[in-house]
Symmetry: C2
């Protein structure tokens, strides 16, 4: 998974530097979504000497190439999710942070209908679903 990120960056003509390899590894071992601050904390905990700016720069690179997607959490924070570079949406578990990807399941029809009603020319959309994953439902049912 870290390998995939690095390969994709290499393809894009981006240099594979030490900090980038290390950050890719940190991202790979994360479960679910993470914030820039999380990643920064990981790096500091391991004394990798990676600066804040580098973390933000890499996340921007990855986001530009759709190797990571920005998700806006319900509380307003910005998080990132490693994912396939195809269009899809995310299910975010509000208990444990687990992420699940959802391929198209009819959203196109919804946007088309909205465009028709409003006269807007829709360029992009963002759908985020929040709830509890199967595991968390078992741990604390009916919460």
């Amino acid at each position: 998974m870290a390998r995939e990120l690095l390969e994709a960056l290499d393809q894009a003509g981006v240099r594979l530097t030490g900090p980038r390899r290390e950050l890719a590894a940190l991202i790979a071992r994360r479960q679910g979504h993470f914030t820039a601050a999380d990643l920064l904390a990981d790096a500091e905990q391991r004394s990798l000497g990676i600066s804040r700016a580098t973390v933000f720069r890499l996340l921007e690179l990855l986001a530009d190439r759709n190797l990571v997607e920005r998700v806006d959490l319900p509380d307003g924070r910005h998080a990132y999710v490693p994912c396939e570079p195809s269009h899809h949406h995310h299910l975010v578990c509000v208990s444990c942070g687990a992420i699940s990807e959802v391929e198209d399941c009819g959203i196109e029809a919804v946007t088309a209908e909205a465009a028709r009603r409003s006269g807007f020319e829709i360029q992009s959309h963002r759908l985020e679903l929040f709830g509890r994953c199967p595991r968390c439902q078992n741990v604390e049912p009916r919460q």
Copy 2:
């Protein structure tokens, strides 16, 4: 429209203070979405002497009561949109910032399908549509 906001706050047992009346009026005269910073700038321009904290506090009050909705712009900024307190989604014009509301148009089916596939128990969702409104399409067609 400022009246509606104030009435709703009154209903909720919140005091109708000077700053709140003034901010409600500023919100009412805004077209489309606005950020907390926009509102703050409006207030400063008119020398209303309203502090940053008060602006954020009112926006939080309004958001809690669904009188205003938080929207995450594609560039990551947080904006607010005055709106009906029923569930719906927003179409945001990326050229002029105009907002249009969309009532349910089949999104429930999409979330149900996603829940079925993933096993998640979906609690909430957020759908934001970005594009160009009819007016902007006419001004600069096919951009």
